[in-house]
């Protein structure tokens, strides 16, 4: 099972390498390490968000409210920064994570305690959180000149040859890797996705685990709220409107099964990178950016078709192993 899972990420990696090679034919500079590092940096936020979404999808749930959560949290930290420029930025990042966590926990509570299907809960909070962003800001924007230099500058600081944003992404990826493969909570995310009934008998509280997954996706969305606002230096109600579907698209391309239980950190990261490369490359090779949406749509469909075949194969292998045992 593990070798097969590895297989899928290797295929995706090969597809990405092929894509980069194809772009390099038209534009030789694209595959330079320096440029690839820039693409990685540009994709950091999507990668972090995809990791949060992955955990939720693993538990057979879905979080449609991530982009709205991001917009709300981003507005909160931007307004704090505009009102109190002296407020230390590391503390502000903690505030962002905290606010995001709170919104995620609200989703999780509704799913856990009331048993409302996650798609309904997050469909509701998708509109509520974005509406709340309007309420706290009164529809006004927080512009670049209202933000402190530290607020905007932190993620652009160079550290060991890379911007801090890239390092944050790498740290989050590493944390998720440890969480998903080395902790019991991480394994229980997989367990309740593969078989909720068996998980109950194994002593896993399914509702609580889902709640934790939503807390995690919320916290991640909160962190990205700060990162997004300080990257694009504008906080408005429209921030990341519709981005929730990009996040899910990255997960799907990364081979995370919407039916739960199947997916990996590497998959989510590669899925996001795939989308990131497409969006960076199109203008470079003189394709109108208007093609981007249709191309990522086709990529999603292709990924689903390929993944569905992979999943079927995997199912048979598990059965065969069980028979042999």
């Amino acid at each position: 099972m593990k070798t097969l899972a590895k297989h899928r990420e290797i295929w995706l990696l090969a597809a990405i390498a092929g894509l980069v090679a194809l772009i390099s034919v038209r534009f030789p500079g694209f595959a330079r390490p320096g440029n690839l590092a820039t693409v990685f940096n540009d994709t950091s936020i999507l990668m972090i968000l995809a990791l949060g979404q992955m955990v939720v999808i693993l538990t057979r749930s879905i979080d449609l409210s991530m982009a709205s959560n991001l917009a709300f949290t981003g507005m909160v930290v931007a307004m704090i920064n505009a009102a109190f420029p002296a407020f230390p930025i590391p503390l502000l990042i903690l505030v962002a994570i905290g606010v995001g966590l709170l919104l995620g926990a609200l989703n999780g509570l509704l799913v856990w305690k009331l048993g409302i299907p996650p798609i309904v809960v997050t469909l509701g909070t998708l509109t509520i959180y974005r509406g709340a962003t309007f309420l706290i800001s009164g529809g006004a924007w927080v512009n670049a000149d209202q933000m402190s230099p530290a607020f905007v500058g932190l993620q652009r600081m160079q550290l060991l040859g890379m911007p801090v944003l890239s390092w944050i992404a790498i740290t989050v990826i590493a944390l998720f890797f440890v969480l998903m493969s080395r902790t019991s909570v991480g394994r229980s995310f997989y367990a309740i996705g593969v078989n909720p009934t068996a998980s109950v008998y194994a002593g896993i509280d399914v509702g609580r685990t889902k709640f934790l997954a939503f807390c995690l996706s919320g916290a991640v969305a909160g962190l990205c709220g700060y990162l997004w606002i300080s990257r694009y230096v504008i906080a408005s109600v429209e921030v990341a409107n519709g981005y929730e579907l990009n996040i899910i698209a990255a997960c799907v391309i990364g081979g995370i099964s919407i039916a739960g239980g199947i997916g990996s950190v590497a998959g989510a990261v590669l899925g996001a990178l795939f989308l990131g490369i497409i969006s960076t490359a199109l203008p470079v090779i003189n394709v109108s950016p208007f093609w981007q949406m249709a191309i990522s749509g086709s990529a999603i469909l292709l990924a689903v078709v390929l993944n569905a075949r992979g999943e079927r194969k995997q199912g048979r292998i598990i059965l065969r192993k069980a028979e042999a045992a």
Partner: protein
Amino acid sequence: MSATDITPTPRRIPDRLDKPFRSAILSWEALLVAVAVTIFIVNSFASPYFLDVWSLSDLTFNFTEKGLIALAMALLIISGEIDLSVAAIIALASTLMGMAAQVGVDTPGVLLIGVGTGLVCGAFNGLLVTGLGLPSIVVTIGTMSLFRGTAFIILGDQAYKGYPASFAFFGQGYVWWVFSFELALFAIAAVVYWFVLHRTSFGRRIFAIGNNAVAAQFSGVRVGRIKFILFCLTGLMSGIAAVLITSRLGSTRPSIAQGYELEVITMVVLGGVSILGGAGSILGVVLAALIMGLVTFGLGLLNVPGIVMSIFIGLLLIMVIALPILWDRFGRRRRLA
């Protein structure tokens, strides 16, 4: 774990179901009617402009287009599938209609292209889901980008205008007095869908599939074919909605109907259709459409911005689902005590 843990407890067969299906459905719709009436009364007190036949006529434009899609979407969700690409279908259909109008195709042709595009897109979704056995939520996220992306490729940041004058009737015309063509179409469609879902064997099969697709298959229901038909229907209704919106606005941009898919699904879920499939009614969906129209129009009269209205819709969605659950839990606790 010892074996005693899994010995079955003796079954007690109740003489009737704990909560009759029929009364549950009735009470849900009763709840929706109560909500609708409350909002109507609040609206008429809140704004002096509300209680006017032409105001009320304008109100209907708020939900007829989305409501038409919601009717088909309800059937699809009852069967256990979902279609997130409906708004993208509107965008693509509208763009192709604009293209046709640009080269001088007259109203019947434009109409045919709009409805036909919807049908083809729906069939494409249906083929991917039923033919290849893929999960509909992911497929339609993909086709959503594909359809709207195609509209963006064709149009870019441009817009199509200059539809034939007679084309304006579908979105702006009135059948009789204050009753618009859109409202009449919605009413007819609602009756047709009600009949199909609640009075035909086809409708019963949709419920059967939603409750247990495998059991339905073994009972001789052609699960794949019915789901395919439902995807086609949803596409067709999106095509019709595209005609209405394009005709009402008189122009096409690739960003047309952005976010409609979530509003349509909100309508369906608010109408009491189980998102897990297998339960729901057309009456509920029609009531939910009316409620959403009332809320957005009433708040609009009070100059409440659209984004704040969406908070109300979101709260309404969660509250209407959460309240019966809480009520049920409270009731059970009281019964046990």
